[in-house]
């Protein structure tokens, strides 16, 4: 099979959310001398765009998005495994930005947050997902560790949403508020809430979160 045909097969594997096929095909492609970055940009990125479009049209759902992202991640790791350090750093630099995301302390709801995290990743962000019930200091420590651009806070309930304000208060206390862009989301949040607590933006849904993330870092 030609390299182009293999790349098309890889693209289809991602669109079909097939991590196993993506892994096998990526390993085959690696035997050729094609530039891995070309494969990622010309085949994998459009594959995820297709997946994202299908999700927007509700032909695909959250699980499809996550499985497709897994397939893409698997393929990318394999394709970049033999890249020189410099080229890998070049790829990292091409990322739109770095996001630390999580559901705040006291809240265990994460489906919306998972959706946002996956969409940010497939749209070119490096994402560090801290999970749910996350203490304010954990957000900040991770943001410092990975040199984040954005800290994204999710909360679903009225009695947990005050902890979004707590993260911002902790940042101010440590003199770090201006270092990061803070975006908030979740069913009980609003633009008014975002303004009230001094966040940099609010997104009503996952797709808006991607647009918002790009906007707050000037991309």
């Amino acid at each position: 099979m030609s390299v182009e045909a293999l790349c098309e097969r890889l693209k289809e594997a991602v669109i079909n959310c097939d991590a196993e096929s993506a892994k096998e095909t990526a390993e085959e492609i690696l035997k050729s001398d094609i530039n891995p970055i070309d494969v990622i940009e010309r085949y994998l990125a459009p594959a995820m765009k297709t997946v994202g479009d299908r999700f927007e049209r509700m032909e695909y759902y959250l699980s499809d998005l996550m499985l497709a992202a897994d397939a893409m991640r698997t393929a990318t790791e394999i394709l970049t495994s033999r890249l020189a350090k410099g080229l890998r750093e070049e790829m990292t630099l091409k990322r739109l930005g770095t996001v630390v995301i999580g559901t705040v302390k006291g809240d265990i709801h994460d489906i919306g947050k998972n959706l946002v995290a996956t969409l940010l990743e497939v749209n070119g962000f490096e994402v560090h997902d801290l999970g749910k019930d996350v203490l304010p200091t954990k957000f900040i420590d991770k943001a410092e560790e990975v040199k984040a651009d954005i800290v994204a806070l999710s909360a679903l309930m009225t009695n947990t949403v005050p902890n979004q304000a707590e993260v911002i208060a902790f940042m101010r206390e440590r003199g770090l508020r201006d270092k990061y862009k803070i975006i908030v989301g979740g069913a009980v949040t609003s633009q008014r809430w975002s303004d009230e607590i001094g966040a940099d933006g609010w997104a009503p849904d996952a797709y808006s979160a991607v647009t918002l993330a790009k906007r707050v870092i000037g991309k």
Partner: protein, 455 residues
């Protein structure tokens, strides 16, 4: 049925599994498999199907799904699984109803069937929607308690105590939970219904500690406590602790679940299967007296879109046709109070639930996420419609609901927020504004034009 201790034992001894694997490899994979195996197909032109074989296929798919998938415990990272024989015995031993309320307000919540002439149980209120002050809480609960033919209260949730913001897991949450019960009981007394059951114990409480604490300040064994699941098919120790407590004190548990259309369940077919499967979890793990489902849209956060009405109808028919376990569906509208859209959504959702074999809880208006955006008028309308559609054939209800969907579905992604309680009701007297009363009357007349007859 196996004992609750045996269920807990499986939380400690069941197969080990990461949460991500459970979500994607177990739930998502198996729901797709059973949807395919049983040939379940969503038809957007028929929000209320009359196909009994479809409902029965969904039930069989749900049983297979739950047998294979079970319930996940995030605290132990293990799966509680139950075999087919245990599920059969659970279905046999499941509650067939429960008496809720005291004195003149005592009444039995029972299971219904599709197109049944048995009137539905009508729970009214806020579905936990947040209110800003204790004064508004008391006034609106008095309003809910004043609704004729209402059978129970689903109270709002407080967001402040003595003006302090309630934060989950803190001492303020404990005070908030206690205050919720104390105020609700007093408000119901003022409405002349001291025996009226509260069924969403406890609205303000998120943690087990707050639920247990608040229960000692006015909740009765004849009330109900909602114990929710974590989407999908997950129960942590916090929730299981509540089950342990309530089964010991003899409280009635409502097994609450909000499967997400667009999430791990996938589309309407998968969401219908998972909704039906939750009934099995509600019996075995929640030890519930009824299922309390609200399948909901991942993006719109409401339960009234056409695809969700189909999901709810099919799942309700699956459970009501194949079990004797009561079903008390819960409504979340997109639009807020004092909007035509909210009334249309309520009518469509109530009609769907009642003719599909369920009882109703109305309602979390404006998705129950906007502070003070609730009122007793829309639940009152919901009760009116619920009684008016009793005995209606599914085919006729389908035509009615299709007409109603045309009135609002295109605005679901940008619904009107409506008014806050204090903008459409007098807090002191509890009376609705003239405008709100007129809207209520006009919407009733419109429903009569659709062929409904109100008492």
């Amino acid at each position: 049925m196996i004992s609750f201790l045996e269920v807990i034992d499986r939380a400690f001894t069941g197969p080990i599994c990461s949460e991500k694997d459970f979500n994607l490899n177990d739930v998502t994979r198996m729901v797709r498999e059973v949807v395919r195996e049983y040939g379940i197909k969503y038809d957007p032109d028929i929000p209320i199907p009359s196909d009994d074989s479809l409902a029965d296929d969904v039930f069989r798919a749900a049983v297979k799904f739950y047998t294979e998938v079970g319930t996940y415990c995030p605290d132990t990272e293990r799966v509680m699984r139950f075999d087919e024989d245990e599920i059969k015995k659970a279905l046999r031993d499941a509650h067939d109803g429960a008496t809720l309320g005291e004195g003149k307000d005592a009444k039995r919540l029972v299971a219904r069937k599709p197109e049944s002439k048995e009137p539905p149980w009508c729970s009214v209120g806020a579905c936990g929607a947040p209110v800003s002050t204790e004064e508004i809480f008391t006034s609106i609960v008095r309003g809910y308690g004043s609704i004729p033919r209402a059978d129970s209260l689903t109270s709002p949730g407080l967001t402040t105590v003595n003006g302090m913001k309630i934060v989950s897991g803190s001492p303020i949450e404990i005070y908030g939970a206690i205050r919720t019960v104390v105020l609700a009981r007093e408000a119901l007394r003022r409405a002349g219904r001291p025996g009226f059951p509260i069924v969403n114990g406890l609205a303000t409480a998120i943690t087990d500690a707050a639920t247990i604490a608040g229960s000692h300040f006015g909740m009765r064994p004849s009330d109900g406590w909602e114990i929710g699941s974590i989407a999908e098919m997950k129960l942590d120790f916090d929730r299981l602790n509540k089950v342990a407590y309530l089964t010991s004190m003899g409280g009635n548990i409502l097994g609450e679940n909000g499967p997400i259309l667009g999430g791990y369940c996938g589309g309407p077919e998968g969401t219908a299967v998972v909704t039906a499967a939750y009934a099995l979890q509600d019996i075995i793990v929640h030890r519930g007296i009824c299922q309390h489902p609200f399948p909901i849209h991942y993006k719109y956060g409401c339960s009234t879109g056409g695809n969700l009405l189909w999901t709810l109808s099919v799942a309700s028919q699956a459970i009501s046709r194949n079990t004797h376990f009561p079903l008390l569906n819960c409504c979340y509208t997109a639009a807020g109070p004092m909007t035509e859209m909210c009334f249309y959504e309520t009518a469509a959702w109530v009609t769907t639930s009642v003719v599909s074999g369920a009882s109703v809880e109305v309602e979390g208006s404006a998705k129950a996420t906007h502070i003070d955006h609730l009122s007793p008028m829309e639940p009152r309308f919901g009760v009116d419609v619920a009684h008016a559609v009793v005995g209606m054939r599914r085919e006729d209800a389908n035509e009615l609901v299709k007409s109603l969907l045309l009135k609002y579905e295109d605005r679901i992604d940008d619904p009107p927020l409506g008014k806050r309680f204090q903008e459409c009701f007098n807090i002191e007297t509890g009376r609705p504004s003239v405008e709100h009363s007129r809207l209520y009357s006009r919407m009733r007349e419109e429903m009569e034009d659709y062929g409904l007859t109100f008492e």
